[in-house]
Symmetry: C2
Subunit: 255 residues, 2 copies
């Protein structure tokens, strides 16, 4: 199994605080040491930082910690290999372009069967069940829609896909096309929405606190999604099995 | 116009020395300060580091300088914007997946017309002529071949494409699918093949020397390709207008 971290905000925000705790789960506070990655949308562009070293000691993770990249949609992943060797090609998040838009995907779980990719244009480069499922999803979206769908239509299609995949195994995932962050819970996923009045948060994986009131404006709103809560003095909402949320502007859209 | 840097080797090699000189052209020894990027193939996987800050001062460039990533195919680019704003979406190298393989592309030049993308599946995310041409190229390859072609067939198709594009403007480019590094010269491109017996090289953009004899084995071979020679005490080969070379194992294949 792996660890997921996502962030969705109404204004570009850095993820340095959350990442500081999260990265320690890659070899320090937890055993997930088979590589890691983080992807940031910045307007329509995105950048993906990957490393096969454990995130707790990776020089790329040091960069991410020290370079506060501002983004409205972030997806990070720490890998504990189940299917596929430890290699860059098997490191999440995965990225593809569809309809002139980048799509990013990271998965926590293990799929016992792989969906058919025949006839679709998206093909895995690595050997993970996760990238395979991502390609199957994009092939499905491309068959279903002529161009970028509205978020509500996309939500419905993703829900149907997630339900089908969940029959093949554990399928917690984060997906973003830059407009929204979708989070699907199969077994383990929590989220928190931080908004005014902001208070002080303390990491669960390191003795580090931050007073968000000092760093925010009253209109800022940030949702953080993670496999396990990242802080130990805040109330995180546990998602239930089969739930798919679409985060926009730092809050899940009503279903 | 922009600056290109490529490296192709017979064994995984780091690009730290060449990059040390190259990055200074982004805002220090030259004026190309509209972002930069570098992409490394590592087996079938690849990672792309992008920044919109000038490469001479970018924290991401500091990471690349201090973290000697071993790769057999590297493409780097420093941008001086001609078409498209300074943004991450317009920062080279561009990456796409085709036939279960990543493709990386960077361009130096300016195209006065844009080829038709109608009916093709690859679509630009940003607004540059460069990404547009890359998408047109991949659409063409996908129409022409059923799966990954042999390098010789790919070379022929790329040459025809490059010739057609060159009628629309300046089209120096580097392209890699992880097996080889293709270099097309429209106006400015030089290369050097370093092999045994190795000697000492001195950068043109910084007072830095390296004795490759201390760092190599007799069977290592490395080709470096750049818009302008990166060292001032070695003999670089100038490519001629219209020339397309396919570098494999650190040397251009005979045409």
């Amino acid at each position: 199994m792996c660890q997921l971290l996502g962030m969705n905000c109404n204004v570009p925000t850095d993820i340095v605080f959350s990442f500081e705790g999260f990265r320690r789960r890659g070899g320090e506070t937890d055993e997930h040491a088979d590589g890691w990655g983080i992807a940031f949308f910045e307007d329509s562009g995105c950048r993906v930082f990957l490393d096969y070293l454990p995130s707790s000691i990776s020089p790329v993770a040091d960069l991410v910690k020290n370079y506060p990249i501002q983004s409205r949609n972030v997806i990070a992943h720490i890998r504990k290999a189940t299917q596929g060797a430890v290699s860059l090609a098997n490191t999440h998040p995965f990225q593809r372009e569809l309809w002139g838009r980048y799509w990013l995907f990271a998965h926590n779980g293990n799929l016992l069967e792989r969906p058919d990719l025949q006839g679709g244009r998206f093909t895995p480069v690595g050997t993970t069940d996760s990238e395979h499922a991502f390609c199957a999803l994009l092939n499905r979206l491309e068959r279903r829609f002529q161009g970028t769908p509205q978020l509500r239509e996309l939500h419905s299609e993703l829900a149907a896909f997630a339900q089908a995949q969940s029959r093949l195994g554990t399928f917690n995932f984060l997906l973003s096309d830059g407009r929204a962050l979708f989070a699907h819970c199969s077994t383990d996923l929590y989220y928190i929405v931080r908004e005014s009045p902001f208070s002080t948060a303390h990491l669960a994986d390191a003795d580090v606190s931050i007073d968000f009131a000092q760093l925010t404006t009253p209109r800022d709103r940030v949702a953080v999604i993670a496999t396990r809560p990242l802080t130990d003095n805040e109330t995180w909402t546990q998602m239930h099995a089969g739930e798919l949320l679409c985060f926009v502007d730092g809050v899940p859209l009503p279903n």
